[in-house]
Symmetry: C2
Subunit: 474 residues, 2 copies
Amino acid sequence: MEKSFVSQIADIDGDFAQWYTDVVVKTKLVDYGPVKGTMVIRPYGYAIWENIQNEFNKRFQANGYENAYFPLLIPMSFMTKEAEHVEGFAPEVAVVTHAGGEKLAEPLCVRPTSETIIGTMYGKWIESWRDLPLRMNQWANVMRWEKTTRPFLRTSEFLWQEGHAVFASAEEAEEETLKMLDLYEEFAKTCLAMPVLTGKKTEKEKFAGAVATYGMEAMMHDGKSLQSGTSHYLGQNFSKAFDIKFTDKDGTQKFGYTMSFGVSTRLIGAIIMTHGDNRGLVLPPVVAPVQVVIVPIASKKEGVLENCRALEERLKKAGVRVKVDDSDNSPGWKFNEWEMKGVPLRIELGPRDIEAGKMTVSRRDGLEKSELPLANAENAVLSLLNEISENLYEKAKKRMEERIVNAETLEGLLDGVNGGNFVRAGWCGERACEDKVKEFAQATSRVAAKEHTACKCVACGKKAATTLYFARAY
Amino acid sequence: MEKSFVSQIADIDGDFAQWYTDVVVKTKLVDYGPVKGTMVIRPYGYAIWENIQNEFNKRFQANGYENAYFPLLIPMSFMTKEAEHVEGFAPEVAVVTHAGGEKLAEPLCVRPTSETIIGTMYGKWIESWRDLPLRMNQWANVMRWEKTTRPFLRTSEFLWQEGHAVFASAEEAEEETLKMLDLYEEFAKTCLAMPVLTGKKTEKEKFAGAVATYGMEAMMHDGKSLQSGTSHYLGQNFSKAFDIKFTDKDGTQKFGYTMSFGVSTRLIGAIIMTHGDNRGLVLPPVVAPVQVVIVPIASKKEGVLENCRALEERLKKAGVRVKVDDSDNSPGWKFNEWEMKGVPLRIELGPRDIEAGKMTVSRRDGLEKSELPLANAENAVLSLLNEISENLYEKAKKRMEERIVNAETLEGLLDGVNGGNFVRAGWCGERACEDKVKEFAQATSRVAAKEHTACKCVACGKKAATTLYFARAY
């Protein structure tokens, strides 16, 4: 029964890809589905997703979004109404050609994203300026057929939220696009303890059909970037394609301005690769399925289990997600298991602790064990969970900041990304120069820097129009 | 702006089908999707579904179920592993034949239900008796291609939950099947104020691949039955097909016993057709998106809107889903709108009420207006919501009980269902006799009665083996 856990997981710095696979599978977050590129989200992984959903729902609601559900299948003809959109997504769609024992008159796409079908409905529902702004959010499965897949990071089917809003003016829609990007950044910090870079994407990297895409990028343990959320200003591209018109106050008919934004189960991958270590997962407290595990010491001694249960009840009442591990395994085995599973806080409670009115507390973020009075356990635990969240954030932020370097040449950029850094560099604005960087350094532009400090384009040496972050990316 | 609402809705007794369509569309619960047979669940409808989900999640969790997510696409070869299962579902599946720009080597079904794919994973995960029982629940979209569709009642795509469990013994699996049926019945009563009949289905009506299916049936306004939830004992049919084996305590390998159960967005249709009236929806308080609407009277008078907001805040804190309607419409227009939308409780608050420290309260379930002190509004509202729930249940129960009749002949059965009744009648156990009832009276067997009281088969006159409820059904 007793096995060494650590030996089951590849070394995080030696083989990060294998470490990731070991961790996601062995902690039972996920398993591989029978169809290539699909994943099964197991209860421990799905509970993280549910916590992410709850946190987002509060925020979306506060911003005027209502949840709704639109159909999975989209007529192929809808996809082709917006020229750039179909070009971007057609190569990735899964297509239903037969149903109910018959060949369909028109093939149907399994939604890769829902602008086209939601746009169609919005076109039907919106009549006047009074109906605007219109804001809805959908939690759904989407499908994008991918050649190379990895659980959470890139799978043919994934779960996500997609927000879709229509406004009367370009200004409002652009403002909302940035507001939702800010919401994502705040969420990443507060709930995932994950620092991000946010900014505009280049034409090459933008969403198919958008006027402008803004992204949030997070630095993973290996220095590669993970696009963790995007917010798109769609202008009138989709409103013209899907006839989203309203009668304005002046009585004239106008096309609305639309925007959309989304995050997916990829965020679970982001958490794993931001905070994980050689002992396994390190889960940020806000989304951890189990925030505190109580391990009874000498559990057969009278009163130990009862005291553990009593503490569990108290913490539950205080809103903590807590669990007593009363299995037959040894305390040492339990410590390893719950560490591998990334539980933020472990409480040991044995006869001596109980007698002394204390509990022994260990933080998963690596700080020292401490003894705390049982009397005030609720407050102590809640404030420790907060501290852990802040500490994880600060650690990740420090790492990211230390690993942002500047480059003025392609060689410098290559050195930078080879060293596991994000590289800030100037860009003239030409697609050819972005392609050159890709070819030379296998790095892509992630987002534009907030401050434009570079003088020259890293690829051609001409005047830089923008300062971009380049990185290797998932 | 001001329109008569009632005139927009067909008469509930004159044309129930049209009444249903009018109500679901005009209250913005749902709209028709662009692909035939699909629906768009609009925010007001989706909020009901979210409340249903929350209530079920509490109950499933208390019964040891954990949520998970399994892939949408199932290889066709999985479907064919259980012979009855594929026979039942093959005619209804939608099939993905192309993806990523290529023809797939094997066609993939869009899941009509997930026994096959979940069974495959369970087969992989379960090793020993220590892994049992294994209980999971999935909230997902499923697809069954239907010829005749109606929003919520029968759509090609719908949302549902499906619970799947494995046990070491037949007894435990059978017990769980009935336990989940009881859970459904309790849920229907507590959350939907909906009385149901529960019992075993006949071979003809059972789930494809089950050993036995138990159903809950509810009587709609027109006397027809709506199957509102099912729980299936699957025996070893799926464990043998999907190799769900475990090493038992005695060291031998055994096949597990499985069961599954599900309810869908159909429950929203059930609510509508159980409680609705000529003024529109009547929503049971536990799942109503808005439980209380506050309508300001003479809202421009000083202090009125402020008092409405203050009351709203107080009720929110007490856990009530409440909304102040501060739109420009007249109070009369608002009354009609919120009645049509089925909000359980309306509070009117005007200058005179405020001065007198009172509020005027109207119940959507048709009982008299009353004046209640503002001082104790929270408790008054909470207890009224409870009363409404109980009253709706009692009304529906009385109707159902009054409309259950007995029949001993096919003519009697036909008269019964023609009169909008459920008909209790004896059945010999032969499929041919069930078919005869269908042909003669366009009625199907719903569930077996708990008490077997009939002597003779209603169709052949031979000894009755079971007493069944027959009804016309949705």
